[in-house]
Assembly symmetry: C2
Homo-oligomer: 232 residues x 2
Amino acid sequence: MFENPLPLYNCDACFFKTISSLHLSADEFDIIRKMTTQLHFEKGETIFKQGAKATHVVFLHKGIVKFNYQNETGKNFIMTIVSGPKILGGANLFFKEINVFSLIAVENCEICLIDNIAFANALMNHGAYLMALFRESIEMFQVPIFNFISLAHKQVNGRIADIILYLSENVYKNNEFQLTLTRKEISEFAACSHENVITTLSKLNKEGIITLEGKHCRINDVNKLKEISKHG
Amino acid sequence: MFENPLPLYNCDACFFKTISSLHLSADEFDIIRKMTTQLHFEKGETIFKQGAKATHVVFLHKGIVKFNYQNETGKNFIMTIVSGPKILGGANLFFKEINVFSLIAVENCEICLIDNIAFANALMNHGAYLMALFRESIEMFQVPIFNFISLAHKQVNGRIADIILYLSENVYKNNEFQLTLTRKEISEFAACSHENVITTLSKLNKEGIITLEGKHCRINDVNKLKEISKHG
DNA sequence: CGCGAGCTTGACGTTGTTCAACTAGAGTGG
DNA sequence: CCACTCTAGTTGAACAACGTCAAGCTCGCG
C-alpha cells in the first residue's frame, strides 16, 4: 500500500463524490480525497478481516463483496452480499473498533479506503452530510435483518427463492446473470447445507421457474418465485 | 396525546439528557425538550406499529420492550428485547419512513417520544452530538445480528442458552430474575416452537444449570450455559 | 494424464414441528 | 359458590425437514 495514493480512478463519475458534493465544497472534498487510498482486489481476496481493528471506511466503487462471519468451529456464514457503488463504512464507524465480520471480494473490486478517524473529524461540522452518509451506509443492515427474518420463518426453499430474488434485484440488477457465487457460498448465505442448495435449485430448474446452465442463471417466473418466498 | 406535554419525569437523572448535555447548551436541550411527549405504557401495549409511518424517535426511560415482526401468515418473531434507559430511534431515523417492526412493552414503560423531523433539524449543526447518538442507537442492531448468527449456526438448546444469557446480562442485569416473557415469546425470540422452549428449559432445570420456579429464573452455572451456547 | 475443486444424487439418522391430551390458575357469569 | 372458559404451561408420539455421509461426476489446470 503506497503512502501517496494514485489519483482516483474515474473520480468524476464517482457516486461517493456525487453525494459528497451536495454537502461539501470542492476544497473540503479534496481533504477527504487526500486521506483516501484506492485499491484493486481480486476475486476471493480479503479486504478486511473479522477480529481486526477497524481502521477505514470502505467505499465500494465497483464489484461485489460478501460480509463473512466465521464461528468458533470454522463454519462460515454470509451476512449480506452487495454490489458497488456503495458505502460500506457503517459497521466500522458505528460498532466497536473491532470488525464483527470479514469483507471478502466475490468479484474483482475497485475500492477506496478512507481513514476512519480523520474522516469522522472532517465531518463533525457537517450534520446534514453526516446524516446522508449514515442513511446510505445503514441501508446495508436491512439485508441481514430481512435475511434473519427469512431464516426464522421460512424453510430452505423459501430462503433460496429469497436469495435468488435478492441477487437478481439488488446485486446483479438483471433477471439473467452469471452466478459468481459457489453453491457453498449460497448455502452460507441461506444457512443450510450445500447439498440442500443444489437439490432446491435443481427442483426450481426442473419446474422451469429458473433456468440454470452451469453458472448462468435466468429467472423465468418471478411471480412463482415470490410465491415460494412467501409460503416457503 | 396532549399538545403541551407534561414536564419530564425525573428529567435531571435522565440518561438522554446526560448524553445531550455533553454536546448541547441548556437552551438547545430545552428546544428538544419542548418537542418531546412523555408517556406511560402498560405491559402488552403497542408503542408503535409495524407498517405505520415512523414519526418519532423513542427514548425508553424505564421498562422493557420487544421489537416484534409479524409475517404474512400472522407468525410473530422477536428481533430483540431491550431494557431502559436506551435510545430506540435508530430504526426509524435511518430506515425508510415505515416501521419495519412493532415496538411492544414487555413490562410497564416510561417513554419519551421526540418528533423525528424537528429533532433531525435541530441536530444538523451538531456533528459530534449526532455521531454520539448514532453510536448509541445503532448498538441495538448488534443484537439482531448476533441473534441471526446464533440462529444460523446453532440448534435450539444453544439458542435458548444464548437467550437466557442475553436476558440475564443485558435486560434484567442479574443472574436471578422474574422472567416476564411467556414461553411463547421466548419461542418467538429463538425462532422455534413453544413446546421446544419448554422441553429445553425443563432439561436445563433438571440438570441444575438453571432453577425455574414458575416465572422466577436463577442461573446456577453460567459457564455450563456458555458451553451449551458455544457447542449447541 | 492425473488431481483437486466444485457439483450432484441418494440413503439414513437426527432435530424440531405439529398435533393431541392433560393440568393449573384466572376471570366470568348464572 | 360452582361450573365454564380461556390462557399458559407441560408432555409424549408421529411425521417431515434437513444435515451428514458416501459415492460418483465434470471440468480446469498443472
